[in-house]
């Protein structure tokens, strides 16, 4: 069985191990220093480049803004037009053609029925009063008014507020209801 025989003296061996440790530490330190140096140079360079970029962009914006200022009047007109068009849209959406409503309402009225009063308020509440030549004329009108395919498309919640018959056999009535799509 072979036995390791250390021929170097104890002191020399210690020196050699210290030297090896020094070498390793130095190499490691140098590497760290190189990395730190690269990080420093890299960071400062990148910062410098970005700073120049920022400055360049600021300059570019300044020049372009000066160009935009030349179109100041055009921009004002464009903005006025935008505001007005938005105002118009809001108004158009609220406008109601009562003439057209009268046309549609007229289509529902039989020849033996005549109206004396007709009103629609802002909330779409309808009130109408009139007379019918006979009970059949009034019934016909009433059925048309509540027919889903005819009057039902225009009005909802139609109710009779009053109904009376005079000595001539005419029926006087008043109705109320709600305008659809209001």
């Amino acid at each position: 069985m072979a036995v390791d025989i250390n021929l170097l003296p104890e002191e020399e061996r210690e020196k050699a191990s210290q030297e090896a440790l020094r070498k390793r530490l130095n190499i490691f330190s140098v590497l760290i220093l190189i990395v730190a140096g690269i990080a420093l140079v890299g960071t400062f360079s990148y910062w410098g480049v970005q700073k120049r970029n920022e400055q360049g962009l600021k300059e570019k914006i300044k020049n372009k803004e000066a160009e935009v200022l030349g179109y100041n009047q055009v921009e004002s007109l464009h903005r006025v037009l935008k505001d007005k068009s938005q105002g118009l849209i809001a108004i158009f959406s609220k406008q109601k053609d009562f003439g057209q409503l009268l046309d549609q309402f007229s289509q529902l009225i039989p020849s033996g029925v005549a109206f004396g009063d007709f009103s629609v308020n802002e909330t779409g509440k309808l009130s109408a009063a009139g007379k019918a030549a006979s009970s059949s004329e009034f019934s016909n009108f009433l059925l048309t008014l509540v027919d889903e395919g005819k009057g039902g498309q225009l009005f909802s919640s139609v109710s009779i507020d009053s109904l009376s018959r005079n000595d001539k056999g005419e029926y006087q009535f008043s109705l109320s209801g709600n305008l659809k799509g209001k």
């Binding site: 730190a36 420093l40 400062f44 055009v74 007005k84 809001a90």
Partner: protein
């Protein structure tokens, strides 16, 4: 009596050993100092870089916005814009324009063959002043009564909401009248007209330019296609009277 080895000599193996051990850690120690120094030097710069990157991103967005704005503005014809604004101004004036309203209603009544039997406008200043609270179109309510044949009244109601000057009928009450055998009707109308003061808001060149949408373009076209009834702004009757109390 000798207490320890002389510094100059350093011949003592103990001191030599300590010195030798210290020199091993000299470069690592310097490295640590340099790294710490570098950290304190880099830390604010790294923060700066983050801030710079954000700022650059914002600035790039701004450049794109200004570029876009510039290309839109340069493609616009200022004369065409001006005429569009004039058309929009007729539909939605910047002032209450009561003379224009009266003129429009008179003309409308004349063209539809009805007569205006009453007119009442809500009290208020003749000129409108801008208020920051008022956004969009403001309303000028008024009441009026008209009378005439059924067709005339019906036409008035339809044309009132289809003229260039924007009008809205809020409520209507029609009553049949029998005059000398001829059926006529009268109508009480609760109406409103609109005006929109042009806000004198200063805008920066980098402010985003709002797009005029297709819907908005259509609204402008619709308004400009409607017949214009007011004639006040064009021809004004001469003024000047010796006696202001003399009847007309």
């Amino acid at each position: 009596m000798k207490i320890g080895p002389s510094l100059a000599g350093g011949s003592s193996p103990l001191y030599s050993k300590i010195f030798s051990s210290l020199t091993i850690f000299l470069l690592p120690a310097i490295t640590v100092v340099v790294v710490v120094f570098a950290f304190f030097l880099l830390n604010p710069r790294v923060r700066d870089i983050f801030v710079l990157n954000r700022s650059i991103k914002d600035l790039e967005g701004k450049v794109a916005n200004v570029d876009r704005k510039l290309s839109i503005l340069s493609s616009k014809d200022s004369n065409m814009l001006l005429s569009q604004v004039r058309e929009a101004e007729k539909a939605l004036p910047s002032q209450k324009d009561i003379p224009g309203l009266l003129s429009s209603l008179d003309r409308l009544a004349q063209e539809t063959g009805v007569s205006i039997t009453s007119f009442q406008v809500s009290p208020g200043e003749v000129t409108a002043t801008f208020s920051a609270q008022a956004v969009g179109a403001e309303s000028l309510p008024f009441k009026m009564a008209i009378s005439g044949g059924y067709d005339g009244v019906r036409n008035f109601l339809t044309r009132a909401v289809n003229t260039n000057r924007t009008l809205r009928i809020r409520s209507v009450a029609i009553t049949a009248q029998a005059q000398a055998g001829q059926a006529s009707v009268s109508a009480s109308l609760d109406m409103e007209t609109f005006y929109q003061i042009i806000a004198k808001i200063k805008f920066a060149p980098s402010d985003r330019l709002p797009d005029i949408t297709t819907e908005e373009q259509k609204a402008l076209e619709k308004a400009s296609q409607r017949p214009y009834l007011s004639e006040i702004s064009g021809t004004r009757p001469p003024t000047g009277k010796l006696n202001p109390f003399q009847s007309f």
